[in-house]
Subunit: 286 residues, 2 copies
């Protein structure tokens, strides 16, 4: 996104691109968001995104917004658009007394249509170089897993490097367990087991992470939720990153260490591409 | 603040109460804030608040806004107003690519004039009852001390109770060290030593906290920055809370345990009241 791109926005269903400066989303990060890939005019994994958003609202105590209404609003914003990224933000709205939420919050719904990001195709094809970030993730079990608006950890981490050849930074927790990338989830393959951190104490449980774990079940690939540190990462057979927009990026380099673009990673990429083609075919016929 | 109170707001100097839904303050909590008591039309500890805000901007890599301009804008908003609370928010503005900040951020300055909160006078006079919150503070040394906009920990903690007789909740870090209240800093007095947590790994370094530590130096009271847990809290001679708006609240009860409103706490309250009277007298003569 460049500074002068016009981003179409709906706020509480109205064509409006500004929110109250008293909105708790701004004052406290008191809200949640989803970043949804749109392919052939259709939001990919819409129900999964809605389920996570709803779970996040429940965790924060924000009344759930009507998913049908969100879907209608999203559809309106997507008319005539083939490929883009939909960002949905739900905040607790205004009011309350300081940190204390109001007894009956009126959530703010924000839907933004962003251009498809111009990540080079080679990221998925040839893999990416990553780095290890200095910024750590603190333990916060009551907020772990959900995609809330308190994202300074990620902003600080992403600010650590400017080298355009490094596409992502890995983040460890305060005990040195690797948890995720700044904008992606982290997987390793070791001896035909697909391993990703459990995210019970920090991290965001990505939609593509869940989708990939399911796809792995269709391949002869065991899945394990398990913490691991730098040593296990460097010893892994394959490493890759996932998110809803990038899909799967093989990790091929971190400092002096390199990994091949492995077989399991390629199979998962292939299976994901097939799924999307099937989804598109259904859409074309529908 | 009730839902229908009108809060005068200046945004980047203009009479405007809304911000872009693309502002990074909303999307990521990418910014800082100050809550400043205004007494006799003057912001109390203005320079200290500006110094902390500037330090926060430096920590996050947000260009420092012109403090003189902020002061001018605040003055404009305070005309004819004797007593209120000024809230200043500085965000990194819009732009950037996902979490990655734009190379030349244009910060957003928000100044809001809130009514003076109606905390009962007895809180300072007779002391308050507090509770221990379940929500913990994770370690985050790179963000500790500054007053950034990622405040879900505090929102979650403040949501844990509704009993109006409990005025504040204490928050521990993930190792059980007591760090602060949801909206205040925590002090104990033990054997004539004033102790407050160090805040190197989490917590907000309050302006009133610093002021009270200085005042303690004028009394025969040693000051120590030291972590302590529940046992030390319960054994303390005196316990109190500070923030810029409440000043000093003695803590007199937590569950079944009670503390007296102690001598050191009263001396500090007295010294603080004297200071403010002096400040007001200077202002009246000025």
């Amino acid at each position: 996104m460049t500074a002068n791109t016009i981003i179409p926005v709906l706020i509480n269903g109205a064509t409006e691109d500004r929110v109250s400066s008293l909105d708790r989303g701004l004052l406290y990060g008191d809200g949640l968001f989803e970043t949804i890939a749109v392919s052939n005019g259709e939001p990919v994994y819409w129900s999964r995104h809605m389920a996570r958003l709803q779970a996040g609202c429940e965790r924060l105590g924000i009344p759930w917004v009507d998913a049908d209404r969100l879907a209608d609003e999203a559809r309106g914003l997507l008319q005539g658009v083939d490929r883009c990224v939909l960002k949905i933000v739900v905040t607790r709205g205004t009011g309350g007394r300081g940190y204390r939420p109001p007894p009956e919050p009126q959530p703010t719904r924000i839907i933004q249509r962003h251009p498809w990001p111009d990540f080079p195709a080679r990221c998925g094809e040839q893999g990416v170089t990553v780095r290890l970030c200095e910024q750590r993730l603190g333990y916060n079990p009551l907020l772990a897993g959900i995609k809330h608006l308190n994202r300074l950890d990620q902003v600080m981490a992403r600010q650590e490097w400017t080298d355009p050849d490094i596409m992502e930074g890995l983040m460890a927790d305060t005990n040195g367990n690797l948890i995720e990338g700044t904008m992606s989830n982290l997987f390793v393959v070791q001896d035909q087991v697909l391993i990703t951190p459990e995210l019970g104490r920090c991290g965001v449980a990505g939609i593509m992470r869940a989708a990939v774990m399911e796809l792995a079940g269709e391949l002869p690939l065991q899945v394990a939720l398990r913490d691991f540190g730098m040593t296990a990462l460097l010893q892994a057979d394959e490493v890759f990153l996932t998110n809803s927009v990038i899909g799967i990026w093989p990790v091929v380099r971190l400092g002096e260490h390199s990994w091949p673009k492995g077989k399991a990673t390629q199979q998962l990429q292939q299976r994901l591409a097939d799924l999307h083609r099937e989804g598109n075919r259904r859409h074309d016929q529908g």
